[in-house]
Symmetry: D2
Subunit: 351 residues, 4 copies
């Protein structure tokens, strides 16, 4: 059996999360997210974010979270600005366009959108013959595993407010950014520095589910209608709520509102595993396409080594350069130390 | 704590289903429904349906199953024919229209669409100034809990083929229809007598998930693209597959391919509970708006009794008539016999 | 050559309108409706409506006017309320649904929507599982040729404001309503008693073009973006503007701001022709499905007479009753008196 | 009064076209494009194209022609491949995305898409997480006024057929390409080498209207439904038909089926005017961003000269380079020789 470093959603979910579901037993709940688990989870999240007025909704998955929120906000002629590598721009089968909106992309730097990128889109779109850019989409961390700094995020958000743009953050791996040593953005910064974002459960311990957090008051109205219309309002919303309540439970301690909860410790584990792999590869003298800041490692290795690694590990190839290949390794909350050690030992041996 | 007869999705899921998820442990699977659980579940379902060539996809919920399938099939000007009470026509916040398609409704009889209904829609739509009806949507059972007979279904399907219409069945409660004593439609009839349908998990033992079954070869191509685009392709598809594998597992016995699996026994329980309630109410001399054929009971009771029932039970009111009210009671795989007995005893006492 | 009473768009356009186009010669204009003809036409219309703050846009045709305006106003989950016979509900091939919005229909009375109709739609739609009705669509005159009274319109508009609904009027034949002796609604009432409407050119003297008038300030922003996106912003917008400038030119006299312009006199002619036909038919003892209030006549005639009329005239059949048929006759600005006289004489002869 | 070289739709239409409309008089026609003018125009066009089986539809304008055709052809997950400068990719306010489809752009060469461009899009889109490219959109001539050669077009079409892609040509200025001395594509090549295209009327003598020609049999069904749904089926279709019948009338001579019709002579005039301007500018030693092959001239001139030209002429600036500016001049069927001479004389003087 090959060990998979292909992604961070290969395992079903953290045992505590599964236990939380099992322990519900035969209790009855109201449907569609109006229940005690969802409201407890929402409270925990709002406390963690220090955002008492935010609205928290639990949606089943990432693509539907993105398309539901974005389509709830934009008028027909309004468009999204996103980095070229943005998940919505590449890997969601045109989900945003299917709701009627164009995505204007820019290359960015290390997977991150810059203010210059956003500005250049605005300058290009000047009248009614072109779409009107209205929402900036970024991912934290990016698809390359890199993180924005607090200053970068703050500058982007300021720019957005100055030019009447919404800032929306795809947080499918948000835990890995916030808990990254290279990222100085804390939970209480996110809600301050964006109009809305989602906290990804699927890639950090949950079986399924993401928490969409709407910070901007003007974007809150009727969001549940759009959820229902897009198929994102699950009958058993409480099953998602219960998972998030478990992931954010440790936060209940009033004396340490920012203490690490399960969601954090899982993210920290995945980052640690990634850093170990990166350290091992770096020691062998190989380089990386992107700095390893979260749980994604993209080293450039000799093709000969990569071919041997394929025998025992699953991972994807990112880009080929002559006799070298950049490969993409992803660690997760579930990656055992032993798999990391085996991998480093194998790669060392193959050198 | 009031006992809820409001719906059949108040409880999280059958313990065996939860155990199936928990027992997955830390095993790794490929994402997006390409895994052994999904393929095992698909095989079990196809065997049960006697439809070896059908394509089975696991989607997270009912509304998204409906909108994903229907929008994958229709061209922009093509429309749906549905009963006035059809879930997509009323309770899905315009999800089908949001994908661009009109729904043409007809009153139907006992919640069921008739061939005369379908024909009258066709007669009304005769040129390019009107939409072109292309897909007939029915629910089995209907929103009123009633079932089509095999002859009715067969006639509708024949009519559809004669007039180049697709027949799609919303099977959110399919188990309750197939296992209903009033319904002579068997699993192996469904796939024969429709172009596509879904087998509802959420309302019959699963935490979440529906199995969309595409029988018509011409509708199979690229369905996974549309799933991804609509946000219905879950990263951890295996978690839905594992639930359906459990629900349909007993079917593995080759000697008894139609033996009741967990999915059947859960449906049978919910029907039995409904029949008991119906019997109790009937004994007291009250009547029903619709025959009780599955797990939905819609009796017409004196307002005074209904008011007293509200103190101890949750249920919805359907329609008011002077001093009588039709209420809607729903039983489920989880409804305990004791709740049924209490309810009958209370209503008897209140009379 | 049969004379056609099938509709009011069989002739290309009034000679004065064609002359207005021809007289433009080789003069150059800016594109997309930013030109002197459009601004002159807009000024004439606003003066006529006594609505100096209204915004007037010139669109090429009726269906695109409806879909452009309605889709510019509604959020994804918001729906339209319309009479069952409403043009958008029947004869626009699902154009509104194609922009993502459901239309909730009610039977109405004589083709007219009542407050009770609107109220019943609101009562039925009460939570996020259903669409949110937000815009009331009526036609003036209706598809049956009937008109609302000023009191009816005023009551509907008051109701709309009380329940946060927009009122939009399809005025494809607006001239025939305003100039109808049975309609006490004047030009200056329309803009006061609706959020937006369009003044139909195609059916009253223009070759093509409708003037969309937006009265509600909150609906004005970015309308030209949506026009462009839907394909309704014509490069040679000035050609539509020039037609409307001609149709509304007589209004320039400051002393008689409400004096009949060409648009009015054409409408008056079509009504007069309709009234003559109605009078002739009534004299013969036949009845009508709807009162003849504008330029549409729907008499119920013996099948034998209708069959003979088909030899010399084009018209459509509306509904069959045993040995009687309701037929639909439409007069226009171009209908010659002689055709009306011939028709009456023939029908008299056939009796 | 400044003379405008801003575009080729500043003048209302050729006098013969206006006369054709006026000469219709009070004759009555059936609506929606089912009339003798449309069928005569369609016959003339099919003869000119040597494409007897093609289907010809008359639509009111270019953006709506593009969105109507493209949305009639694609399934929800299918996408368009277009050059970065493609009109649908930039200047139609997201019209294609508003119908649900992504546009994948490539830089191209001289505004032209290459096979390498198309291939690179295909290579990038390999599974259901990405849209499926299905239709190649090119403009002939391009937005930069350049033309494809017959070999280039033929190669692209072959490539498209090999990879199951449709080829659609935006022919807003088709006449200027076909009549360009640099373009060896003839009318009878276009229909052979594409699945569909449109022949632009608005920019070459008509007041409004484009002729969409569908060559691929599999794309013909139900096109009129989509036309109606998008608002492109005009009540007075005959008014567009009559314009095209006039523009293509000379073609009626059976002995010279390819003889120049009005449509050709107007295009030839606009090209001649452009060539004269280009020659004049070239004589002064200035260069061009793109070869002048049709009726668009994009010279790079000193800023000082451009500033003086702005006093007497309208034109747009394309790109700035230090003390030089690329400006965009467009000639048309209506551009008088005198305006061209004045312009050259002025620019010579300003040097």
């Amino acid at each position: 059996m090959k060990y998979s470093f292909k992604n961070d959603y290969s395992e079903i979910g953290h045992p505590d999360v599964l236990d939380a579901l099992s322990s519900i037993g035969s209790k009855q709940y109201d449907g569609y997210g109006i229940d005690e688990h969802c409201s407890k989870a929402a409270e925990l999240i709002k406390k963690k974010l220090n955002a008492p007025k935010a609205e928290v909704h639990f949606l089943p998955a990432g693509t539907i979270a993105n398309l539901t929120f974005i389509s709830s906000v934009l008028k027909p002629h309004e468009a999204v600005i996103a980095p070229l590598s943005g998940h919505i721009a590449v890997h969601e089968t045109g989900a945003i366009e299917a709701t009627g909106h164009k995505i204007c992309t820019r290359e960015g730097v290390l997977g991150k959108l810059t203010i210059a990128d956003i500005e250049s889109v605005l300058l290009e779109h000047k009248d009614e013959h072109m779409v009107k850019p209205r929402l900036v989409y970024i991912s934290l961390p990016t698809e390359c595993g890199t993180v924005y700094t607090k200053e970068e995020l703050s500058d982007i958000y300021d720019f957005c407010r100055d030019f009447d743009l919404y800032l929306y953050i795809d947080g499918a791996r948000l835990g890995a950014a916030i808990n990254s040593p290279e990222c100085d953005i804390a939970y209480n910064d996110i809600a301050r520095l964006s109009d809305a974002f989602f906290i990804g459960g699927t890639k950090n311990g949950a079986i399924y589910g993401e928490a969409v957090v709407i910070c901007n008051d003007s974007l809150k109205a009727d969001f549940r209608y759009i959820m229902k219309q897009r198929g994102a309002l699950h009958a058993k919303g409480f099953a998602i709520g219960a998972q998030f309540a478990e992931l954010f439970a440790k936060n209940e301690s009033k004396t340490e509102p920012q203490a690490a909860c399960l969601y954090d410790s899982l993210a920290i584990h995945s980052i640690t595993m990634a850093k170990m792999i990166a350290h091992g590869i770096h020691s062998l003298g190989y380089d990386f396409l992107y700095p390893v800041q979260t749980n994604i490692i993209i080293p450039v290795l000799p093709t000969t080594i990569v071919e041997r690694l394929h025998k025992d590990y699953l991972f994807s190839e990112w880009e080929r350069f002559d006799d070298m290949v950049a490969i993409r390794l992803v660690t997760s909350w579930a990656t055992p130390m032993s798999a990391v050690e085996d991998f480093i030992s194998d790669i060392t041996r193959y050198k």
